[in-house]
């Protein structure tokens, strides 16, 4: 059997002497679509940064594709779409093509130039997110949803096996959020890319994810969406550390405010 994309064993991370994460044990099987949720300050982004090697754990072991993170070199296997992606300088004069090509920079390495195969790859990635009509447009001229698609393409162009997305739908208007998730689902099912998605939007997430993890300093829940949605307000209050009221949703009824 293939090694899981990510395993964390007893991971702990402290910042300014207060612990941000403790006793984190979890496994992200290949091919899964995992939703990671939890309150603000619960350590979601920290967890992602640990996986990406941007932070080093104080304790515990992280394995990526079966390899200890300390010796892991194959970073191009991991694509990352950050929360801050759409906080980039909107005036930056880069076309969609140029932005997506940046996804190949690391994979190619120093002193190498793009050849024909790379250029085709860039076009394929743009096509796979449905942005081919905008190839030569400046990224700053696009809408939030379109920009986020371009960032997905930038992550896809290096053929990642794991795609990590940190709050990718912030700044994307409601009607495009669904299209965005459909795209992720398609990539997960058709290309077998493992997805790890951080989001506050638990409603949408439970519709699409195969696994759900709830994080507030430690892991509070790890299971399937159905189990998550059957949680009671008392359970959730325990995770979040403050009282939570559940609002019943009738999925057929259109929300008035959106």
């Amino acid at each position: 059997m293939k090694q899981p994309a990510v395993t964390m064993h007893n991971v702990e991370y402290t910042y300014d002497r207060s612990s941000v994460l403790r006793q984190i044990d979890f496994e992200l099987p290949r091919g899964s679509f995992m939703g990671l949720t939890g309150p603000n300050g619960g350590g979601k982004t920290t967890l992602i940064k640990l996986i990406l090697g941007l932070l080093k754990p104080d304790k515990g072991q992280i394995h990526l594709f079966g390899q200890p993170i300390q010796t892991f070199k194959d970073w191009t296997k991991i694509g990352f779409v950050s929360q801050k992606s759409n906080a980039f300088n909107k005036g930056f004069p880069a076309t969609v093509y140029e932005v997506v090509s940046m996804g190949l920079t690391g994979k190619l390495g120093y002193f190498k130039f793009f050849n024909k195969t790379h250029k085709e790859k860039i076009h394929t990635a743009i096509k796979s997110v449905g942005m081919e009509a905008y190839t030569n447009q400046n990224i700053g001229d696009l809408s939030g949803g379109q920009q986020q698609r371009v960032f997905i393409a930038r992550a896809l162009v290096s053929d990642p096996e794991l795609l990590i997305l940190d709050e990718p739908t912030v700044g994307v208007d409601a009607e495009n959020v669904d299209r965005f998730y459909d795209l992720l689902k398609k990539l997960n099912q058709e290309q077998g890319i493992t997805m790890l998605l951080v989001t506050h939007d638990t409603g949408t997430m439970t519709k699409h994810a195969t696994d759900i993890v709830c994080l507030n300093k430690t892991l509070h829940f790890h299971g399937e969406p159905d189990d998550y949605t059957s949680l009671t307000a008392t359970d959730l209050s325990k995770f979040y550390g403050y009282p939570v009221n559940l609002v019943e949703h009738d999925p057929d009824e259109k929300e008035e405010l959106s």
């Binding site: 950050s82 005036g91 004069p93 190949l104 690391g106 120093y110 030569n136 400046n138």
Partner: protein, 292 residues
Amino acid sequence: MIADFLHYDFLRHTLYTGLLIGIIAPLLGSFIVVRRLSLLADALSHVTLAGIAFALYIDKRWGIVAISPLYGGMIFSVIGSVLIEKLRSVYRAFQELAIPIILSGGVGLSVIFISLANGFNTDLFNYLFGSVSAVSQTDFLSILGISIFIIIVILLFYKELITLSFDEEHATVSGIHAKWIHLLFIVLTALVIAASIRIVGVLLVSALMTLPVAAAIRVSKGFKQMVIMSIIFGEFAVIIGLVTGYYLGIPPGGTIVLTAIFILIATLIYKRIRTAYKGGSSDESTRSRQYA
């Protein structure tokens, strides 16, 4: 009008040097502008002045040319650039602090060296505002070497530089050594400044790095196109500035920068007119939103 420039040796060196810095200044300037470091060039140019003043002071004090002002400026500028990178990592939350620290340090040192040598009169004036007659053949050959070096390095590291400028976090995650690329970039900037000072002068060198880019950014699509356009604008400013400066007897720094400003205004007007004819850019953005 340009005939004199091809006829006299000293003018020919100036013209060729001008054409070289018309390429390298906007080339590096493109990265400087998109990384919002426009003031960096100002800081480094003042440190370069300190190096020039140091070289001139040694010459005046002991009557020996230990280092030529070009190399004196270059050494100081490169040291200054490394210090800026260092300061930026010390003051992580106030990275722009590095710029005034280095700038005032450069001016302070310059003042000290200049007064120790009891002033340099015309020479100093040339360094501040540029000169059409100050480029020797040795200077020209040095600047030619530097320019070729800079262009090759930029071509080699183009994809890393643009990736890093656009999104530092993403660049780091994809395995680019951000620290080293930053350092490389800032050292290149220091070299460009030292090479440009003979023509445009300390006070105006940053303008040649940023004004053509400011014009190009308004009318281009994408980064590569912006770089090419800013080089065209830069060349245009240098040629017109040098020729008019020579015939009017004005330091070329002034005429080059004013030409660059006219180009900038022209592009702004052009953009305005084009938007008006197309029925406004607001249409474009609504369209893109609809298809989001």
